[in-house]
């Protein structure tokens, strides 16, 4: 509408298309039509308010909420708050680390968002620089590191201090070393929440520092490159094998919606399957009344039986994150199956179905409970597929019947032990289908101690590196 941003008219389209390209690089599908929409958004909103532009562009470019974190990080790179040191930072820089920590503690206690952003800027400027970071220097090796900043600033150690300052303001000064038992009479109840609230604020501040460091580095090295490398992928695209604790926790939060979505897809498939098959005998019989012309085809009646699932999971070391997530997913979808049984192994097999059923209330502690309450390992702690499969075929084979689909989860790394392929063959002979989900990509199969190819000859093996792929496989492979 307004033409006030005429000078930006050549820069802005370029920036927008570069931004869109970066989003595409992260697997967000943005077509030209959306880009045009985004340009219309910029025109309608003007360039006055950054947060509004962020929301407006998100509305035009995004199609699902899971894309939002990637979008935000990329947006901060292409539409930064400012360049170089931010204006507010220059106005009143902190003299030293102690003062910075003092002000950070204050801002955390007050939950002052703008002050926290500014402090993140100051912190990166003061503590994060490495190499020759002079503003006139050549684009060389220097830069800013969020890790270094946080390492020196140690915001997590401020927790006790912020808690204490909050309490002296409110009620009597107890020492702030955690949520003390609620002896306080008035307003005492919310006191126990404080520690967690401040922990969340500190985590938020760390995010701000990371964003700020990315922005500063991007200025130096070129936005496109940092947008490609420095922005973390969305949770459902994180590789299971390299996911850290926070990413796994975030994945677990998506579990219920994902389970519901997959259940809907399975129901749709089931309905189609029930419609699809023609019952020849009944169709011919029916055609007799129309002179032998099959006018009304009869469909085969769908047996109201639901499939049985047996999960066989490697819960050792790195594969544990993948296995735990899948177990919880299948458990969350349990009403889709007539029976779900879960077995875990490292080098010995034990049934853990009951641990998972009760584990719905505490998904984070599942791995620990399996390790302590079930017998999954014998004399040593490294995984041995051969003896685990052998033991399963020996002792638990009655769990597998002609209606059972078996899912084996694991990387098929045998640590040099005998892979015991005949045991897997015995399981496969008894089950309706056996699928193997491998968290490693096909390129790694058969390398080192991996027996993936040997197993793949007996059963279908699928690479399943992230949650999105797992969702696809679950809807495709599971019988209806």
């Amino acid at each position: 509408m307004s033409t006030q941003d005429a000078p930006a008219s050549t820069v802005l389209p370029e920036r927008l298309t570069a931004f869109v390209r970066a989003l595409r690089g992260h697997g967000i599908r943005v077509g030209p039509a959306e880009t045009v929409d985004a340009a219309a958004v910029l025109q309608v909103l003007g360039l006055a308010d950054r947060e509004r532009i962020r929301e407006g562009l998100a509305a035009a470019l995004l199609r699902a909420d899971r894309q939002r974190t990637v979008f935000d990080a990329t947006f901060d790179l292409y539409f930064p708050l400012g360049t170089g040191e931010l204006a507010a930072t220059r106005a009143a820089p902190a003299a030293d680390l102690t003062e910075l920590r003092d002000r950070l503690a204050e801002a955390l206690a007050a939950n002052d968002a703008s002050a926290l952003t500014q402090l993140a800027g100051e912190a990166v400027d003061m503590l994060g620089g490495y190499g020759p970071t002079g503003s006139s220097g050549p684009t060389g090796t220097g830069g800013w590191s969020a890790h270094q900043t946080l390492d020196r600033l140690r915001p997590q150690t401020l927790l006790a201090r912020v808690l204490a300052s909050g309490r002296t303001g409110g009620s009597g000064g107890t020492d702030g070393s955690g949520a003390s038992g609620g002896s306080g009479a008035s307003g005492g109840f919310t006191e126990r929440l404080e520690a967690d609230e401040i922990r969340r604020r500190i985590e938020d501040f760390r995010g701000r520092v990371r964003g700020e460091a990315r922005r500063r580095v991007a200025e130096r090295r070129g936005t496109d490159e940092i947008a490609r490398r420095g922005v973390a992928p969305s949770a459902d695209q994180v590789d299971f094998l390299v996911a850290n604790r926070e990413q796994l926790a975030e994945l677990r939060r998506t579990l219920q919606p994902l389970a519901r979505k997959l259940a809907t897809r399975l129901t749709a498939r089931r309905r189609r399957a029930a419609r699809g098959q023609i019952d020849i005998r009944r169709t011919l019989r029916r055609s007799l009344s129309t002179g032998g012309v099959p006018l009304r085809p009869a469909h085969r009646r769908h047996r109201p039986a639901r499939p049985e699932i047996v999960l066989l999971c490697d819960v050792s070391g790195s594969a544990a994150g993948f296995a735990n997530f899948t177990m919880l997913l299948v458990q969350a979808m349990r009403d889709q199956f007539s029976r779900v049984r879960v077995y875990a192994f490292v080098n010995r097999v034990d049934e853990v179905t009951r641990l998972i059923t009760t584990g719905g209330a505490d998904p984070a502690g599942l791995g620990h409970r399996i390790a302590t309450e079930a017998t999954v390992s014998g004399w040593h702690g490294s995984s041995d597929y051969g003896s685990a499969l052998g033991e399963f075929a020996e002792r638990h084979l009655d769990a597998v019947g002609p209606r059972t689909s078996v899912l084996v989860l694991g990387d098929a790394r045998t640590n040099g032990f005998d892979p015991n392929v005949p045991a897997l063959r015995r399981i496969a002979a008894r089950a309706r289908r056996v699928h193997w989900l491998n968290p490693e990509g096909p390129a790694h199969w058969g390398t080192g101690d991996s027996a993936a190819h040997a197993y793949a000859e007996v059963v279908d093996m699928h690479a399943c590196r992230n949650a999105r792929r797992l969702g696809e496989l679950v809807t495709r492979l599971l019988p209806v």
Binding site: D37, V44, L62, R63, T190, A361
Partner: protein, 297 residues
Amino acid sequence: MAEQEDRPGGDGTGFFSSVDDVVGRLAEVGYLASTAVATTVFLADRLGKPLLVEGPAGVGKTELAKAVARVGGARLVRLQCYEGIDESRALYEWNHAKQLLRITAGRDESWDDTRTDIFSDEFLLTRPLLTAIRGDEPTVLLIDETDKADVEVEGLLLEVLSDFQVTVPELGTITATRRPFTVLTSNATRELSEALRRRCLFLHLDFPDAELEQRIVRLKVPGLDAVLADSLVRVIAALRAMELRKAPSVAETIDWARTLLALGADTLDESVVRDSLGVVLKHQDDIAKAAQGLTLL
């Protein structure tokens, strides 16, 4: 007609003049909007695109459409989607019974006369989508729980939502004289098709931040003490941070506030929280876990 609103292409519903206007006028009718909501509503209004609102249950998706209707003084046309909804429920249907009566009544007429007559407006039963397009007055079209409908219905929506027109073979194409402000809501139980998403502006409506939620509680439950509202919202935030099967939404926050008001509680303490936790959490596992997390026992 009005020269402001009829810009080339005829897009835009023209309810709002700026983002601040959206915030102010939605607040007047009792809907407190975050920056994301206000900006997106303004864009939907300006660009004349449908607004797809996704988010957990109870955060005010349907309420948003109602609030916009109240602000714009528009009639609200609602299409509630469910499994098995079809063209005749969503778009239009011929009134067969009445057509038959008409044919029997005019027995000695020629077929041509009858035909032109029975396929006229009088025998057309308009369903929500067609109703929303035909009227001249400002309209808000709410397509609720779009994800519950079958995939085929999405195909039906495509024509309606991209060009705001409906083709009835016997009558020709009916184009909207005035674009309705369209809101689609979805709980994301199923992925909506890419084609439908592409035609919409996307808004993910999440739980509001603490400050906004406090204002919402104070607005909806005016009798509640400010300090109590503050601690209430903080407890809710703590509950949401736990890994629960169903995190409490805004509707539950307001319910809880009303409960506390009815109980006459003036501060939150352990016994009050323990006794009323069932208002906020709907699963026994969740209640047990929350009790443990809040160290109630």
